[in-house]
């Protein structure tokens, strides 16, 4: 990949270990993410990829390890701190607000930036009204960017899977994140939808300089769009490097061969 200036390390994960009861989901994992890069996490099912993202943005609390975000140490990250610090994410099993329209779902992404208090909202006073309009404009930009104008007012529950994934991305983008965590954004999509999604991810990365951490099973896609790849297996890190390096790594090859047999 060229054109972008990959910068300094922006996110650093040190010796992360996480377990659920007896299950060790992650064991002593360290890796880093540089500014503006696209960083992929791959690995067989149950390897701990989603858990890794959940640790990064504070959904799970690891028993050991620390997260350093732009030089700041987070001993115990939580979701709110993560959101404030500019992390946004999408979910493997779409976690949209299914009783709300597409527009409202995306508007929730602006929540952190909305300041009108509850009384101003109750009486729909100037500040509340202005704010609502201002953020609506921003959200409309994202809607245009992801080409979902036609479904604005539809409750998300009624949308087909591929579009729901897109709305999930739209909601994350509405936060104007610095780091975007994507958990299998293309799973279950057909080729055409995958191509669209790839294009969106690359555009986001390119136009807004957003750093992307991406979990994906489709090796073709991963090798195509990512700058560096981390490989997990049974909660352990077994590989880390450029796509070419990872592809040549014997541990990775055997993990994948082992997993497919």
């Amino acid at each position: 990949m060229s054109g972008r200036n990959i910068g300094e390390v922006i996110l650093d994960l040190n010796n992360i270990s996480l377990s659920f009861g007896g299950v060790k989901a992650l064991t002593d994992i360290s890796f880093n993410v540089r500014e503006h890069e696209i960083r992929a996490i791959i690995g067989p099912n149950g390897a701990g990829k989603s858990s890794m993202l959940n640790v990064i943005n504070g959904v799970y609390r690891p028993q050991h390890g620390e997260i350093i975000l732009r030089g700041e140490h987070f001993a115990n990250m939580n979701s709110y701190k993560a959101a404030k610090a500019g992390l946004a994410r999408t979910f493997q099993n779409i976690a949209l607000f299914k009783g709300m329209s597409v527009l409202d779902n995306i508007m929730t992404g602006r929540n952190l930036k909305m300041k009108a208090n509850i009384l101003q909202q109750a009486f729909w006073l100037g500040p509340a009204q202005r704010e609502e309009l201002e953020h609506r404009l921003k959200v409309e930009e994202i809607i245009d960017f992801l080409e979902i104008q036609h479904i604005r007012k539809i409750p998300v529950g009624r949308l087909p899977y591929g579009l729901q994934k897109r709305v999930d991305l739209a909601r994350a983008l509405a936060m104007e994140p610095q780091i975007l965590l994507l958990d299998e954004p293309m799973a279950g999509m057909n080729v055409e939808e995958k191509q669209d999604m790839c294009r969106f991810i690359l555009d986001v990365n390119d136009q807004f300089g957003t750093t992307v951490v991406l979990i994906e099973h489709d090796m073709g896609v991963v090798m195509d769009i990512s700058d560096r790849v981390v490989v997990l297996d049974y909660g352990k890190k077994i590989g880390d490097g450029t796509p070419d390096e990872v592809r040549a790594n014997p541990d990775v090859i055997s993990a994948y061969l082992g997993a497919s047999h």
Partner: protein, 309 residues
């Protein structure tokens, strides 16, 4: 000292009854994820059925044998409770599979209202007697240990004994029989259980039947003490904090929780009540459960769950 012991024993005995009702909650919750608010209505319904049939049968058959009348009434009431269980599965639960807990809870609230209405329409809404020959007179115990001994109500004693027996029987049923194992499989994982060929609908009918039986026994015990009357339907509300303490998914939790609440209620009422004007046993258990929730949301024995995303 002997007064304290009396209070304690009284608490333990009413606690045993709470355990019984709580067990009904836990069974249904484990097998179907339903928090059965209608458990109290089932107790009332069963008690009314028992009371009225034992009154009607001698009239219909022109006989005068109390034992036979009770036996027949009991048999009929069992059938009635089974029918209720079957109808609940057919008409309600089956259509609400995979709904959220709160929705199911509200549905059982609907069932509770419906049962209360039907029960009183069919059986009437007065206070009816249930006379299964429970001993009424109090007895003295441990006279050689304490001065004056301690006074115990034989009726409470028998009631606690029967409840304990049923609780033990159900635990064995759960642990040892094939049906019990299937029930536990369903409780652990609905989908997995279904995929190995355990019929969910049948399991549900069975747990509701079992819950119906616990309701019937509780109804008879309480009914013979207080009369079969509308206020019986509130025992479920009294037993609710029990399952919170014990954890919704734990049978031993239900039993121990029941005892704790029974004792806590009695002791607080006797020692704390007079200070604040009495009548506190109604909310005391709830406050206890609430405090507890704040520190251990999953209950004494329930397992902690971290949401997957």
């Amino acid at each position: 000292m002997s007064f304290f012991l009396e209070t304690l024993l009284g608490g333990l005995m009413s606690g045993m009854l709470y355990s019984l009702v709580a067990l009904g909650f836990v069974l249904i919750y484990k097998a179907s994820g339903v928090f059965n608010f209608a458990q109290g209505a089932m107790v009332l319904f069963a008690a009314l059925s028992m009371a009225r049939f034992s009154e009607w049968i001698p009239q219909w058959l022109g006989m005068d044998n109390l034992f036979m009348a009770n036996l027949l009434a009991f048999a009929i009431s069992v059938v009635v409770m089974f029918t209720v269980a079957w109808l609940v599965e057919r008409l309600v639960l089956r259509h609400l599979v995979n709904q959220e807990g709160a929705t199911l809870l509200m549905a059982t609230l609907g069932i509770a209202y419906f049962l209360d209405g039907v029960g009183q329409t069919i059986f009437g809404s007065d206070i009816y007697k249930i006379d299964v020959g429970m001993p009424k007179e109090p007895v003295m115990m441990l006279e050689n240990i304490f001065e004056g001994g301690i006074l115990i109500n034989k009726e409470d004693f028998v009631a606690a004994f029967i409840s304990a027996l049923l609780v033990v029987a159900l635990s064995i049923f759960f642990q040892k029989t094939a049906t019990g194992r299937a029930l536990r499989a369903v409780a652990d994982d609905h989908q997995a259980a279904q995929s190995i060929g355990i019929p969910l609908d049948r399991i549900w009918v069975i747990v509701w039947c079992v819950a119906g039986i616990t309701a019937l026994v509780a109804g008879i015990i309480w009914g013979s003490k207080l009369g079969a009357q509308f206020s019986l339907s509130t025992v479920a509300l009294r037993a609710l904090p029990v399952v919170i303490l014990g954890g919704l998914t734990s049978v031993p939790g239900a039993i121990i929780g029941g005892l704790i609440i029974g004792v806590g209620e009695k002791i607080s009422e006797v020692y704390l009540g007079p200070m604040v004007g009495g009548g506190i046993e109604i909310w005391f258990a709830y406050m206890l459960a609430l405090m507890f929730l704040l520190f251990r949301p999953q209950g004494l024995f329930g397992e902690k769950i971290i949401d997957r995303v």
